[in-house]
Symmetry: C2
Subunit: 701 residues, 2 copies
Amino acid sequence: MAFDNNIPTKFPSLGENAPSGSDLLSLERSKASFDVQKLTEFMYTKDWLEKRNRVLAVIEKDPGFSKTHRYYQSRDAKVKSGFLKDKRIIELAEEHQWGPDERRVATFLYDQSTPFSLHHGMFIPTLMNQTTDEQKRLFLEPALKYEILGCYAQTELGHGSNVQGLETTATYISSTNEFDLHSPSLTSAKWWIGGLGKTATHAIVMARLVIHGKDHGPHPFCVQIRSLKDHRPLEGITVGDIGPKFGFNAVDNGFLLFDHYLVPHVSFLAGLAQVVPGTGDYIRPPNTKLSYGTMVYVRANIVMGVRFALAKAATISIRYAAVRQQFVDSANARTWGAKTVVETPVLDYTMQQYRLLPILASAYACFFTGREMMRLYEWNQQEMKKGRYDLLADVHASSSGLKSLTTTMAVDAIEDCRRACGGHGYSLFSGLGLFYQDYLPNTTWEGDNYVLTQQTARYLLKTYRQVLQTGGGPTTDEQQHNITASYLKEYLHRPTAKCTAMNPTDLQHPELILAAFKYRAAYGVAQVVAQLDRHGKSWNAVLVELQRVSRAHCQYLLVHNFFAALQSDPLLSSSKYCDIHSVLRTLACLFGLHMMEKDLAEFIVCGYLSITQCDWVKEQVMVLLDAIRPQAVPLVDAFDLPDYYLHSALGRYDGKVYKAMTEMAEMEPLNHSVVVDGYASSIRPLIFQGWKDGLPGDSKL
Amino acid sequence: MAFDNNIPTKFPSLGENAPSGSDLLSLERSKASFDVQKLTEFMYTKDWLEKRNRVLAVIEKDPGFSKTHRYYQSRDAKVKSGFLKDKRIIELAEEHQWGPDERRVATFLYDQSTPFSLHHGMFIPTLMNQTTDEQKRLFLEPALKYEILGCYAQTELGHGSNVQGLETTATYISSTNEFDLHSPSLTSAKWWIGGLGKTATHAIVMARLVIHGKDHGPHPFCVQIRSLKDHRPLEGITVGDIGPKFGFNAVDNGFLLFDHYLVPHVSFLAGLAQVVPGTGDYIRPPNTKLSYGTMVYVRANIVMGVRFALAKAATISIRYAAVRQQFVDSANARTWGAKTVVETPVLDYTMQQYRLLPILASAYACFFTGREMMRLYEWNQQEMKKGRYDLLADVHASSSGLKSLTTTMAVDAIEDCRRACGGHGYSLFSGLGLFYQDYLPNTTWEGDNYVLTQQTARYLLKTYRQVLQTGGGPTTDEQQHNITASYLKEYLHRPTAKCTAMNPTDLQHPELILAAFKYRAAYGVAQVVAQLDRHGKSWNAVLVELQRVSRAHCQYLLVHNFFAALQSDPLLSSSKYCDIHSVLRTLACLFGLHMMEKDLAEFIVCGYLSITQCDWVKEQVMVLLDAIRPQAVPLVDAFDLPDYYLHSALGRYDGKVYKAMTEMAEMEPLNHSVVVDGYASSIRPLIFQGWKDGLPGDSKL
């Protein structure tokens, strides 16, 4: 028999039915009402795109950056490929003279955290900001040259968000001028520490500083944990990997315990607080508000990242929805070439539009809000340098709430997009499964999303009480540029305002949408203040409401920033950009009204929208979906996410979805042999035991 | 140095802080207001529990059923362990004389689909129901003895829900009395077929039957695809595994293509339709409604399974929330033994209660609805046997919508519970990550959840139109036992009804809650009928509304079945069960009002609830959460899910969460050697290259 059984399995070369995915995407692109490239350049700048393309050209072909095996890797293979990439980027940076920008781009495009992520993200920054010159020489300089590899060990097995509850102790021994690091209980084990499992030689350890019996609370120490020679854990250290996670498995999150581990005085990071050698006198850190600025920066960056997460999810699911055909929508049946009737692309179904297009709109919303947060961050930094702290509280509170709201939006959107891809969304080849799993920690780190909303709410309540005290009178200095105080005051002046829409299309006026979000946010704050201050409810009793007011506030900011950019961005408001302005305005209305519809009860219960207006909201959402539908593919194209970045069979620019699915299936290791591990011990005996009178021939029975 | 570096890593033996997890769970259990064991027996029956315990005792210790390595396994190890379990259950069944019930229990407890799942779930049932006696002898008998292993190949790469769109052809060749199976295009490749990738020797193939050029649409064929001797694919077959998935990776979902593959006439499953040998005359299948009964049965089973999914998620997250302590709620600070103040268990925070307790309530709701669906299924089967089809349409439509609604509730709840576990929810040791991934296909198979709602909605619209025609007059025969027709008629009689609650606690009356759900469901149906029939909207234009009316209808059923059982179940309504009745009634109110709050806008926009009543709904949800709070742990305990089943560090019955986390981390393969793959090539060179002047000693710097 000449037949070779086709192992490793190769697919026969078969054609695609017309219309092909490429045909369908070309058709979509021909309907663009705006200049896609111009919008791309507006969002990224030509300079960044040039840089991106330059880096992309290098890493796309580099084995250290290959994504080919990403979806088939076991845990240890993932960690290994992470190491490879970490080492390779250092070499490439040298070779191509990449600066921090290019490295950031490469890391962004590779799109998977690696064991060194926390070395760069937390270890080095902490050593930069919280050390003496001596400590910079001892720790920072070798860290920058990768002579030592570090991590940041704060979270403990029993203690996450509540940093003040940490148990690890660092007891000062004045006689030897050392600290005794110790883990007194199981729950005190450092846990979840990225890069600690199998990589780090050093750790920044947050431990309670105890001097002469007095507990000064958590402080940072820089300590060696593994031998530089052979990577063995040092004596007194228990260290390892915390095991498999829902995602993020290329990173070796680790645990760490100390058994009366002695470290020298210099291990205590003395850039802020200090311990006087010998006497053990404790010198408090200067009470600086500057660290809040850093938090704003980190969170603004997360929101900028949310834009990419949303854009990636939208790109994959919308392109695939334009390619995937299912049933014939009889009212809207299409023909194609010789075929009289072809199945309808699922993107033509209103349910699919309802599921996907608001996510596309939210990607753009997060672009504008991310940009605005960066502007506020920089403005605030300038102000603080001049000793003015007027902006800080507002910027910090909003950045907390926006981090919480937008990362939750993103994780939900990724999963919604995955599900909207139907069965194939469940294949890892969709590019959405691992993405969801890897993205999720964004909802936990830099402040748990639920805990964060309390910070935002606390500020909103405080501001409202201040506004109440001044009776909504003339603004104080602090309130002058304060968007929060401003809408709360507006509410106080017109506490029974109503939506002024007289007919459905009125709802497409930005002013009208903004007014609704402002009123609903302020009303929520006023209600909670009343519950606390007048009805004597406890903080715990109103936690659910607090989360709602934080969200309402941040939703207003998202809508506000979107419309504000459309109105006042110099480019967008120029006549040369009117094609882009027009489609973005429709998108902004969709974003606002869809979000309003999702929380419609809040807009009615406060008395702002009438029941008729609620029906209009629903109606206008459908009208706007219909308006955006033909622009959906051009709008995801404008995000210009390279195929290398997406690494998705379904989201490819060229629409060759089915070809890509089969090519990726050919690479499945199980297909490289006739039988797999387990056949000989389990399947074969079963079959053979059955045919007691001898196997039948391999006929087709 | 005596220090051995502690590799493989073992944790030091450290105590837990007081109060320990066990202390906290004991305290919770001491607060039970009802007899937990009695509730357990009510739900499962003593008989089933005895069976469960008997099977559990066997498989807990059996290597073939071990879950020890589940969270560390690579794809091929997962498949291999699946084979092992598949073979082992056959042996155990023989050894312990297990019947189908015991096997089902074993499979339920093992809680992971395996390569043989579709052999039992689809291959054998199809051969039982759609074959001639000759085919039973040829295919079914060897299948029952595992002499051949099968799968069910329907879905294609380009065709899922739309079965009529399948492309694979089976062309009858009258001269040889054979069929020519062929895959004409890439999109016609069979795809997603469970057990096909590396296991099946045979497949039921759905292919378009073509005779003398006439296409009779998809029909089933049973064909051999691999050699029984050595498992090689037969000539003309391309077969393999479709690659890694988001979950379900112990199953070898596969692909299959035919290159003019000839099969004998007997391959055509002739239990229903027939093809006359030689002439090729096609004999239509008898037009039976019985197959709808089967669908109802399958879906009722899925809903019964939803109860376990919800109970599992609730058990893990609620037990952990009782053990996990975070911050001190100052208004509610606790002391413990010698400790003056200890951190507050997160279950005491209202936000956490709001996230978790409604999920607990929904687990009980699905128990009662699953039970009711089974009753209706059996009643309907009896009726159909008597030639009466009055019940069928209603039961079928409701089962479609309920499958859609409850499986969506379940996947969302699993993920909500995972997130509510904070950082540790992200560890696979939580037991919630893989669980979510593996459970997800429930939303797609047996009818995609979105597509299904159209079936339910179509029936609701039809029933409403019928009711309209009879002017809400006397019921027809068909409507007599028809809960749907009954509430639609009620609406027609009182189209402007209002909620009669006069004060907040009125909302805890079952009648009041039920009336609200009925009105809101009927109002939605009436609106959509008006849009289609009076405003001439297309089906596509109202898809979003259709999904809403299906959900509204099924939410009503869930609430109805819960309260109906409380009122009329002989045990529950007896005085001996008043402790249980009381807590379940509170739970039913919470379930109803929380669901109402989530979709509050729909209850207001229809004019049924006033704004004041909406505030009462929110308020009562908080009141009910507070009432359920002390019963939360006893209520999850009543589901009596064994630790073996949960396989979760966080959800253990004994509350030893942190001990379990560290024990599972010790088993992580990465911790079994000092360095991992990649160290020598990536990390070591970096470190050594840095220290050009020689490594520093392993001091602590």
